[in-house]
């Protein structure tokens, strides 16, 4: 955790709203992106982002900084998402149009159209993984958390994270090498 974030957290704990605003500016886009990928629509993602930060302010006094603020924030976000799924009993994977829109908005990361197509298939395959593997992929790859941070966010062991990552990659590799039934 950078010293700036630590400072901001301490100031926010002492009631400094400007520090809290800076923390929001720093992290809200990543949290929104996380929810957007998991919920499938902007409205739910925005609502869940609001709930997450509300919980952050409520629980900030209990935050003892044993893990980074980013990890702690993702842990809260994950629990908010789990609660939301439990209440709504649904799982809305992202539509192809959404991924197309995302890729079209940001053409930079992919070197060519073939890579973009492969990425498109890969992201759809991720949504077909089981819940545990999907949580790991979202936090570790999409949210760029380290193995340790992912383990802290999910309250599981690092060895478990590694195992699930390996299984997820194997499953994704298997799905991508399967012959396409629908062209």
């Amino acid at each position: 955790m950078s010293d700036d974030v630590k400072n901001l957290v301490e100031r926010a704990k002492s009631g400094d709203r400007s520090a809290a605003s800076q923390l929001i500016t720093e992290f809200y886009e990543r949290i929104f992106a996380y929810f957007r990928r998991r919920c499938g629509n902007d409205e739910d993602a925005a609502d869940l982002t609001q709930k997450t930060f509300c919980k952050v302010w409520t629980s900030l006094k209990n935050y003892d900084q044993r893990s980074s603020f980013n990890t702690w924030l993702h842990s809260i976000a994950h629990h908010v998402y789990v609660d939301w799924r439990r209440v709504n009993h649904r799982l809305d994977p992202q539509s192809d149009e959404w991924w197309d829109a995302c890729i079209a908005d940001e053409p930079g990361p992919f070197e060519n159209a073939a890579e973009g197509e492969a990425a498109h298939q890969l992201y759809r395959a991720v949504e077909q993984l089981n819940d545990e593997q999907r949580d790991i992929v979202h936090l570790h790859y999409y949210q760029s958390l380290s193995i340790q941070e992912t383990a802290d966010a999910l309250s599981i062991a690092t060895s478990t994270v590694k195992c699930r990552l390996r299984n997820a990659l194997t499953a994704l590799q298997g799905r991508l090498t399967e012959p396409k039934l629908h062209v």
Binding site: G15, I24, E29, A33, L60, P109, L122
Partner: protein, 282 residues
């Protein structure tokens, strides 16, 4: 596609941009605890007594309960001990009372037994007197008994005449049949004797037939009285004359012929002697 390529693509996942007003909304929703509240909270959290009051209260209540239970348990144990002692005392007094009552009851039982024995003795004495009186009357009773017997004998009606007595008739008929059997045995024995003697003459008396008879003591006498011997009418008769009467029963008038046959003679038959030999004639 290998895993490295997959990981690379996953890390390149696009980030959708947040809505424009979301950041302002989040900032407006900031609800941090106030400094005064935090100070009060710190102060409250620092109050050791207030923090531990629930635990201390529970501990005091629990301790009080334990003390009350201990006192009650000791009181109950004391009461049980007293009850045990009083029960032992009650048993002791009851045993004393039972021991005191045992002697009179024993003497009463003995007296009752003696009374019973006395009553039995009186009853037995009366019985002896009665038996003695009966014994004195015994000769008189015997005399009466003899007189009654005589009277009874005198009153008995006379039996049937021998001619009318059916059982006597049957008995006489059976004796006559047995007599016929005896004569038959005698005639056969005589013929065997003659054969053994290698002559055709029969013996002159029945004594020489004894070795040929199984029960000579019975066979030589008529069964009617067992004492009347058979009479040899034709001693030394020849076997060549089969119709000669060899032996005779004087009671039943049965005759045995030389040929071994036996006949029961009726009153119409009579015996005739010719040349020292006897024959049957009508």
């Amino acid at each position: 596609m290998n895993t490295e390529a997959i990981e690379k693509l996953l890390r390149k996942a696009p980030h959708n941009t947040a809505p424009a007003g979301l950041r302002n909304t989040l900032k407006s929703d900031i609800d941090l605890p106030s400094a005064s509240a935090r100070t009060l909270e710190h102060r409250e959290s620092g109050s050791w007594l207030r923090r531990w009051i629930p635990a201390l209260g529970f501990a005091v209540w629990f301790l009080g309960c334990v003390i009350v239970l201990g006192v009650q348990a000791s009181r109950i144990a004391e009461l049980k001990e007293r009850a045990r002692a009083s029960e032992a005392a009650r048993r002791a007094s009851a045993s004393l009372l039972t021991g005191a009552n045992e002697t009179p009851s024993a003497s009463t039982t003995e007296i009752e037994q003696l009374r019973k024995d006395l009553a039995d003795l009186a009853r037995l004495r009366g019985e002896v007197e009665r038996l003695r009186a009966e014994l004195a009357e015994l000769p008189k009773l015997q005399t009466e008994n003899a007189q009654l017997r005589l009277t009874l004998k005198a009153q008995v009606p006379p039996g049937p005449k021998p001619e009318e007595d059916y059982f006597a008739q049957q008995q006489g008929r059976a004796a006559r049949i047995v007599c016929v059997n005896h004569l038959k045995q005698l005639c056969l024995a005589a013929r065997i004797w003659a054969n053994d003697s290698k002559s055709d003459a029969l013996p002159k008396n029945v004594e020489s037939l004894k070795p040929y008879l199984k029960s000579a003591e019975k066979m030589l006498f008529c069964p009617s009285d067992g004492t009347t011997p058979y009479q040899v009418l034709s001693p030394g008769a020849s076997e060549n004359h089969p119709l000669v009467v060899f032996v005779r029963c004087t009671i039943h008038n049965n005759v045995g012929l030389v040929d071994g046959s036996v006949q029961q003679l009726s009153p119409s038959h009579k015996l005739v002697q010719r040349d020292a030999e006897w024959f049957i004639e009508r």
